[in-house]
Each structure stands twice: as structure tokens, then as C-alpha cells.
């Protein structure tokens, strides 16, 4: 027998208080709905009944969630039959690597925070703390475009797949798209389009397969998918318990998912269409600054303030490798794979770039040159070079 549900105000009282027909109409509708719920044995009625003892329900749910967490760990552990580096023992070790700086891009007046390659494999967009966003030709080191943002700390920038626009944002809590004009004299800021609006800083942005949609992550703890033309929010992704610092889209062949990493030490894999978190990984001991998919799309790497980079396999649903050394005590700010996925490049806060053998778990090279933290690192689209940006105001292209 369900307890009766009393409407909050009696109909007779209402008619005497207010002469507005609208309120009475709404109230009648609510009454009808409540009766329907009552008669149809709708769960809403059940939940209302259970609200009589909320603390008991919460306790029950808490114990269920603890039990599920344990079950999740057990299921994952069952399949942990071998380590990645053990499987890779028979693979030939890599030889000595010599990577030289081929280009140094100078021109930013302050810390370089983010960079991205254009699909044409020669142009680079970079953003910095002083609010400037610069488009470079990496072959000639010429600056092709420069935009001054209305805010400082432009933490995110991305090149559109067509090469005709760049997106950027930071402390302004927005992501703006600037179409790149062939006319060097044209003021790019005039054509600026504000696409994304968050309630805290923008930490990362990326175009999807086309120029039409942008994925963003923010200090407000959410990620969001936006339509560039209308600025409309298409999907939002909730699940992180703190600032989201990075994101990466799955390689197009593997479908509509992306991975994000945050200050809650979690890396989440999301379904872009439904907004649901499909998988979650929590093995890092500090903020996750960077996430990048393995070229096949079956795994992803992460770099964290806990001075380690880790590899997570999506089909085994667990961490399968840790890239760390006792001598590395500074956080990794950015990671990227070489084209075959054999090499993992990590930019660190101790000004170095460590190159890891992904399969064997060993470091194959350490690269110096930057005079301050390495804040961003990307391998070029054809895999011939990689570019790193640093708090020393420069970008270096190496191979």
C-alpha cells in the first residue's frame, strides 16, 4: 500500500488566493499526473515513498558502489596474465637515437602553452601566455599569421582539418575560431567566431573530422561538443570530479570516441554521440596533463604530474605499461606517439624530452635544448618530425 501523495496546496485555497487561471490549470495537471503515477505503479511514486528514509538508501547505494568497484577490479585482474614488456621480449631492441633540432621558432613574447600541426605537415599554430596565437611555416620559420586574443594564458589551440582556420581559447572561458585569410593584411580578429562557452578556463580543444565541429575541455570539469557555425552545444560530457586538462579524439577508423584526462587523476573514454563515459581509468597518482591515442586506436597514453607516462589498453580495459625512472621526478606535460606507435615522446617539466620504447618500457633517448618546461609536444601528421613548445618562449622542430 503506497502512502497517499498530497498536493502541496488545496484547490479551494488556490482559487481564493489568486485569480490567475494559469496556476489553477497547472495545479490540476500536476494533480492528474500524480494520480496517474500512483495508479500506474510508476517508479516515481516508489522513489517518493523511499524518500522517507534517505540516509538508509544512500548507505545501501554506497555499499553497492563499493561492491561494484571491487568487482570491476577483480574482472580486470582476472585477465592480467602477462605484462606488455614480457610479450615484447622477442622484439628487436631499438638502436641509438640521434634527434637534432632542425628549426627553432622564435617570436612569442612569453611561455608557449600549446601547439598543433596543420594537415599539410608544414604549418604550425602555437599559443602563448601573452595572448598571442601565431601560425608558422615550419620549413621556412616564417610567421604567416598572428592574432592577439583578448585574454592572457591561451592554453589551447588547434588547426582545422582543412587548414583554413584555427581555434583557440584559455582564460576567457571560450573557444574562438579564426578563419585564416590568404590576404596577410587582413585583420583576422574581425572575422573571429565565438563557439564554445564554459564556466571556467578552456584547457584543450580539437576539431573533429571536419571544420564543422569542435570538442573542448575545461576547468569547469566538463567536455563539450559544439557546432562551429551556430555555436550550439551538441553534447556535453559530465563525469570528471575536477578540472579536465586534456583530450584526444580517436583515430577516425575506430569510431566516435575520445579520451579526456583531469585533475581527478582519471582518464575517461567517452561515446561522442550519447555523452556516456564508456571506460574509466584511475591509476595515476596526480593530475593527468596529456592524453594521446595509440595510432591503432586500441590504446592511449597519458602523461601526469606524478612523473610517469602510462599506456592503457582499451580492450583489456587496464593499464598495461608504466614509463618511469627513479631519476625522473618532474611531471610530464605532454605526450605523443610516433607513426607506428613504437616510440612515445614525453615533454617534461625538467626541460627535457624523454623518448620511450612503448613495447619494452625502456627509455631510448633523452633530448635537451629547451631552457624551461616543455609544455606541449606533437608529432607531425606524416611522422617525419615532432615539434615541442616550451616556457622558454620557443618551439623546436626535431627529427
Amino acid at each position: 500500500m503506497y502512502p497517499s501523495i498530497h498536493p502541496s496546496i488545496h484547490l479551494s485555497t488556490l482559487t481564493s488566493i489568486s485569480s490567475s487561471p494559469v496556476i489553477i490549470y497547472v495545479h490540476l495537471a500536476v494533480q492528474q499526473l500524480q494520480t496517474l503515477c500512483f495508479l500506474a505503479n510508476f517508479p516515481l511514486a516508489k522513489m517518493a515513498a523511499q524518500e522517507v528514509q534517505p540516509s538508509e538508501t544512500i548507505a545501501k547505494l554506497k555499499s553497492e558502489s563499493e561492491a561494484l568497484k571491487t568487482k570491476l577490479e577483480e574482472e580486470r585482474a582476472k585477465l592480467h596474465d602477462v605484462e606488455l614488456h614480457q610479450v615484447a621480449e622477442k622484439v628487436d631492441p631499438l638502436g641509438q637515437f640521434v634527434m637534432k633540432t632542425r628549426r627553432t621558432l622564435k617570436g612569442h613574447g612569453n611561455k608557449v602553452l600549446c601547439m598543433d600541426w596543420c594537415k599539410d605537415k608544414r604549418r604550425i599554430v602555437s599559443s602563448s601566455q601573452d595572448g598571442k596565437v601565431i601560425v608558422w611555416d615550419a620549413f621556412t620559420t616564417n610567421k604567416e599569421h598572428a592574432v592577439t586574443m583578448p585574454c592572457t594564458w591561451v592554453m589551447a589551440c588547434a588547426y582545422a582539418p582543412s587548414g583554413c582556420a584555427v581555434a583557440c581559447g584559455g582564460l576567457d572561458n571560450k573557444c574562438s575560431v579564426y578563419p585564416l585569410s590568404l590576404d596577410k593584411n587582413e585583420n583576422l580578429a574581425a572575422k573571429k567566431k565565438s563557439v564554445a562557452m564554459h564556466t571556467n578556463y578552456l584547457s584543450a580543444c580539437s576539431f573533429t573530422n571536419s571544420d564543422m565541429q569542435i570538442l573542448t575541455s575545461s576547468g569547469d570539469g566538463t567536455c563539450a561538443l559544439w557546432d562551429v557555425e551556430s555555436g550550439q552545444l551538441l553534447q556535453s560530457f559530465h563525469g570528471h570530479a575536477a578540472d579536465v586538462l586534456c583530450l584526444d579524439l580517436a583515430p577516425s577508423e575506430t569510431g566516435n570516441t575520445f579520451v579526456s584526462g583531469g585533475c581527478d587523476k582519471k582518464a575517461n573514454v567517452w561515446d561522442m554521440r550519447s555523452g556516456q563515459c564508456i571506460q574509466s581509468f584511475e591509476t595515476h597518482e596526480s593530475d593527468i596533463n596529456s592524453v594521446r591515442y595509440y595510432p591503432s586506436g586500441d590504446a592511449f597514453a597519458s602523461g601526469s604530474d606524478d612523473a610517469t607516462c602510462r599506456l592503457y589498453d582499451l580492450r583489456a580495459d587496464r593499464e598495461v605499461a608504466i614509463y618511469s625512472k627513479e631519476s625522473i621526478i618532474f611531471g610530464a606535460s605532454s605526450v605523443d606517439f610516433s607513426l607506428s606507435g613504437r616510440l612515445l615522446f614525453g615533454g617534461y617539466n625538467d626541460y627535457t624530452i624523454n623518448v620511450w620504447d612503448v613495447l619494452k618500457g625502456t627509455r631510448v633517448s633523452i633530448l635537451f635544448g629547451h631552457e624551461n618546461r616543455v609544455s606541449t609536444l606533437r608529432v607531425s601528421p606524416d611522422g617525419t618530425a615532432f615539434c615541442s613548445g616550451s616556457w622558454d618562449h620557443t618551439l623546436r622542430v626535431r627529427e
Binding site: 544512500i58 564508456i278 612503448v358
Partner: protein, 68 residues
């Protein structure tokens, strides 16, 4: 009512955990073997791994000798 909000939030957490606990997984040995196979198959097409000759490398200028 904040307690009903907590109940709703907890139910979402439980629902999410149930979903995650029930996904299909493969053994690490199989997953690792596939990662390794991908690396080996694509190793020859990886310029950073194999190195690119100066003549085809866009970042190296053609000079008879260069001081680095």
C-alpha cells in the same frame, strides 16, 4: 531537497559502475600481442624510427657540409 539530490547522484554512480563492470574484456596477452603486431607492421613506414635520408627530408637543407 539535498538528500534526494544525493540519492540521484549516487544512483548515477552505481549505474555507471554497473555499466563499466559488464563490458567485454580481452586478456592482456592478446591485447599486448596486437599492439606489438601493429608496431612491427608499421615500423618501416615510421620516419622517426627508421630515419629519412637528407634528400627527401624537408627539414634538412641541401648543403655540401653543415655545421650544427
Amino acid at each position: 531537497m539535498s538528500t534526494s539530490g544525493n540519492v540521484v547522484a549516487m544512483k548515477k554512480v552505481v549505474q555507471q559502475l554497473r555499466f563499466e563492470a559488464n563490458i567485454d574484456r580481452v586478456k592482456v596477452s592478446q591485447a599486448a600481442a596486437e599492439l606489438q603486431q601493429f608496431c612491427i607492421q608499421n615500423a618501416l613506414q615510421d620516419p622517426l624510427l627508421t630515419g629519412v635520408s637528407s634528400s627527401t627530408n624537408p627539414f634538412r637543407t641541401q648543403k655540401l657540409c653543415s655545421f650544427v
